[in-house]
């Protein structure tokens, strides 16, 4: 059962990582929205993500339901514990999501939906960061139930991770726009990426310093014995990617900044996974304490093994259909501009 629990944990981890990277860049586009040079740039920005945002957000549904499938105990502890940030995130994602259709239909109220898109993306990103911090810092559990209060999640650490995720998603969004746009919008995306890249790295550094201070077990994981040697590739790779990010922005590469940002996210994510393992709800609930009964895990894993490769395949196809630069008149505007 331990192996099954670890595999299940890995599946959830992959789903969340996919979500963070994919919805990260389109939430990032939303975070950058009000700072765009003009309304035409905003049209281009929204067109660059309109065909794919829905698929990206689906990974969040998979993450949530996946947790219910594989770790029903963790699901039933975490969601009441994080009631307020989860609800805030959901409301924000509603405003972000409806913008795609409503803004396109709107004539006089475009500015209203611009705001809805920005605030929805910003708050969703911030709350996701808060959730991450709140999980890492630990959740009070008694038996199989949450035993803390409604505001336990709110700490300086979770606010820091919230700001960090906003900066990180902004970076993903900016580097995505470097890849998908040209001319004036691309120049603006480059300068945004530079600023946000700096902010992201500062936030990553701050979180890396603070996390081992949260609990001795985490410090021991990183610095105990020769662990620091085994784990040293993570900070070293992070540094390499940081260099690659800035170098590729300044040397006007188009795809490499985006790939470097994704790399930074993958490494940050691995760092957190290493800090938490084997807990799914730190500090006391391990994956094998919370895993679903064997029959459910096996059934679900077979489904994942059969279906997920197909999903990945046609997701890649769907992205490839919309390859190339996005334009002001791409997407919706093409078939019914008045």
């Amino acid at each position: 059962m331990e192996t099954l629990a670890i595999i299940s944990g890995a599946v959830i981890g992959v789903a969340i990582l996919m979500y963070v990277v994919l919805d990260g860049f389109d939430l990032g586009v939303g975070i950058l929205f009000p700072f765009a040079p003009d309304e035409g740039a905003r049209d281009t920005m929204i067109n660059s993500v309109a065909p794919v945002w829905d698929g990206n957000e689906t990974w969040l549904i998979l993450g949530g339901r996946g947790l219910l499938v594989f770790f029903p105990i963790a699901y039933s502890i975490a969601l009441p514990a994080f009631y307020i940030p989860v609800m805030a995130m959901l409301f924000a994602l509603i405003f972000r999501g409806v913008t795609f259709e409503f803004r396109h239909q709107a004539h006089t109220s475009t500015h209203l939906w611009n705001r809805s898109f920005f605030w929805g993306s910003l708050i969703a990103a911030f709350m996701q960061g808060v959730l991450l911090g709140a999980l890492v810092q630990g959740v009070e559990v008694e038996g199989v139930r949450y035993a803390g209060g409604m505001f336990d999640w709110l700490t300086p650490f979770s606010i820091l991770t919230g700001i960090g995720v906003v900066a990180g998603y902004g970076l993903l969004g900016a580097t995505w726009l470097i890849y998908k746009t040209e001319g004036q919008v691309q120049d603006w995306a480059r300068s945004s990426a530079t600023v946000l890249g700096g902010g992201t790295l500062i936030a990553m550094a701050a979180v890396s310093v603070m996390t081992p201070l949260l609990r001795p077990a985490i410090a021991d994981r990183w610095f105990g014995g020769i662990n620091i040697l085994y784990l040293s590739p993570i900070p070293l790779l992070t540094l390499t990617l940081a260099v690659s990010l800035f170098w590729s922005i300044f040397s006007k590469r188009e795809l490499l900044p985006f790939l470097s940002s994704i790399g930074l996210f993958v490494l940050g994510f691995s760092g957190i996974a290493i800090s938490l393992y084997p807990n799914i709800i730190p500090p006391s609930v391990a994956v094998w304490d919370a895993v679903a009964p064997r029959s459910s895990v096996i059934f679900a894993l077979v489904g994942v093994a059969v279906v997920l490769p197909m999903v990945l395949l046609y997701t890649v196809y769907a992205y490839s259909v919309f390859h190339g630069k996005a334009s002001e008149h791409g997407g919706y505007a093409h078939h019914d501009h008045e």
Binding site: I61, G64, Y75, S76, G97, R145, F299, Y314, H334
Partner: protein, 463 residues
């Protein structure tokens, strides 16, 4: 009593968010099928009116689909925030079903919806048609899994509770639980019927005010065929579903019938005011032996009564009783519309019959009302349980979440969803008033035969 009763608030909140959500999939499941039909007709006949029709309805589809996505995401997390006890206990049985919904349906819909909406210039007509078909299949697969999960809560099977969690020993029994086949057919047909009514109604509106005649005639005809076939089918399926409920959830049927004593020769109450406190009805207007005849096909057939179980195990009778009557009444009204349409068609006056069109316009939103009423019957009728007969609603909600938090989010949901629904209706009305866009000059010039080879020519707009 504390000032906020967390259980009641959690129930109200879930009832509101799930009712709001189901409106949108109800339309998209059926509309996806209509879009497949429109596009197939266009590809076969090269008659441009079908393409115009497709492009018009696909906009309504996109608007509605977006609403379904954002309101559906909420539900995936609300299970945990508001119903953590239920999640822990039933997760091992229900989790995989709704997990497979994401894997096999949501990704498929999301992946190909982009191509359906924005891919005209990027892929050829056949591939575009394939995308439409895959989205339609995705909506049907989604209905399959979510109705399997819902049905399992009505008629649990294939699993037993061990150490506080369900452990499944037979997945096929979980998925194909006793009420699932009828619920799946009944809800899918409800979606298609609701869509047929929407398509007929909006087309009738155009026919009445004399705009967009060419496309409106085609859609009105297709919609009225839909109503004619689907309304009687739905009545038959509803009857079968009801008999299935009689077998597995007799107290729900007792509430639907407003019947208190288990006995033979039970009348069908056309009107009554069920009084749960007194355990009897007031102001009954009834058809003698009606209920026994419908449920047992025998005037003396025995119909279960609510008093078979203590008051605390009975569902709220009034809501179930009245929702059932709204649903059935509308169902027969739809049948009448379908028959009237068939008669007008036979006489060759389908497009001229003014009162028929007026009724069709009036019934545009009626399918949603019937569908919601049906869900009220089955969901409220399952009370006081979340898993029928096993897990009570009062043992299902999140014990650590305060009533004040749920009350706050409930108010926010009311405001936000109210505003969104207003915006949705506003933009929907705008789309309908504007009507279908004619093809551009370049599209009309390019004959379909030529287009099929040179794919980018299909929808290049004349800018």
């Amino acid at each position: 009593m504390p000032p906020f009763d967390a259980e009641i608030l959690a129930r109200l909140q879930f009832a509101f968010t799930v009712s709001f959500h189901i409106l949108f999939p109800t339309l998209t499941i059926g509309l996806a099928g209509f879009l497949v039909f429109f596009e197939a007709r266009y590809l076969r006949s090269h008659d441009e009116a079908w393409l115009v029709l497709y492009r018009f309805w696909v906009k309504i589809f996109a608007l509605t689909f977006g609403m379904g996505v954002v309101s559906g995401l909420v539900l995936s997390y609300q299970f945990g925030t508001n119903w953590s006890e239920w999640s822990r206990v039933t997760g091992p049985a229900l989790g995989p079903l709704i997990g497979f919904e994401v894997l096999t349906a949501f990704f498929l819909e999301a992946g190909f919806l982009g191509i359906m909406l924005f891919g005209w210039q990027k892929v050829g007509p056949r591939l575009h048609f394939l995308a439409t078909c895959l989205v339609a299949i995705g909506t049907a697969i989604s209905a399959f899994w979510i109705l399997a999960a819902n049905s399992w809560m009505q008629t649990p099977a294939g699993a037993t509770i061990i150490e506080g969690q369900y452990v499944v020993d037979d997945w096929l029994a979980v998925i194909f639980n006793p009420s699932f086949p009828w619920r799946l057919l009944h809800m899918t047909t409800a979606s298609y019927l609701t869509t047929a009514l929407v398509v007929s109604g909006i087309s009738a509106f155009y026919l009445l005010n004399g705009s967009n005649r060419e496309v409106a005639r085609r859609a009105f005809s297709a919609g009225m065929w839909g109503v004619l076939v689907l309304a009687p089918l739905q009545i038959f399926l509803g009857d079968q579903h009801g008999l299935n409920t009689l077998e597995h959830q007799p107290i729900k049927v007792a509430a639907m019938e407003g019947n208190w004593e288990t006995r033979g020769g039970v009348p069908f109450h056309i009107f009554a005011m069920p009084d749960q406190k007194e355990q009897r009805n007031r102001l009954e207007i009834s058809i003698p032996y009606g209920s026994s005849l419908i449920l047992r096909h025998d005037p003396d057939g025995v119909v279960p009564g609510l008093k078979d179980v203590p008051v605390e195990d009975q569902p709220p009778v009034g809501i179930v009783f009245w929702s059932f009557r709204i649903m059935v009444g509308l169902g027969f009204l739809f049948l009448a519309l379908g028959l009237w349409g068939a008669w007008a068609r036979w006489r060759g006056t389908l497009y001229e019959a003014t009162w028929l069109k007026r009724l069709a316009v009036l019934l545009t939103p009626a399918g949603f009302v019937a569908t919601l009423a049906g869900w009220f019957v089955t969901e409220v009728g399952r009370q006081p349980y979340t898993v029928y007969g096993v897990m009570r609603t009062e043992d299902s909600f999140s014990p650590s979440v305060t009533g004040a938090s749920i009350a706050t989010t409930l108010v926010l949901f009311l405001i936000v969803y109210g505003g969104l629904f207003g915006a949705y209706l506003y933009y929907l009305t705008k789309l309908v008033r504007r009507g279908p866009d004619p093809l551009t000059a370049r599209e009309t010039e390019a004959k379909p035969e030529a287009i099929r080879g040179a794919r980018p020519g299909l929808v290049v707009p004349a800018e």
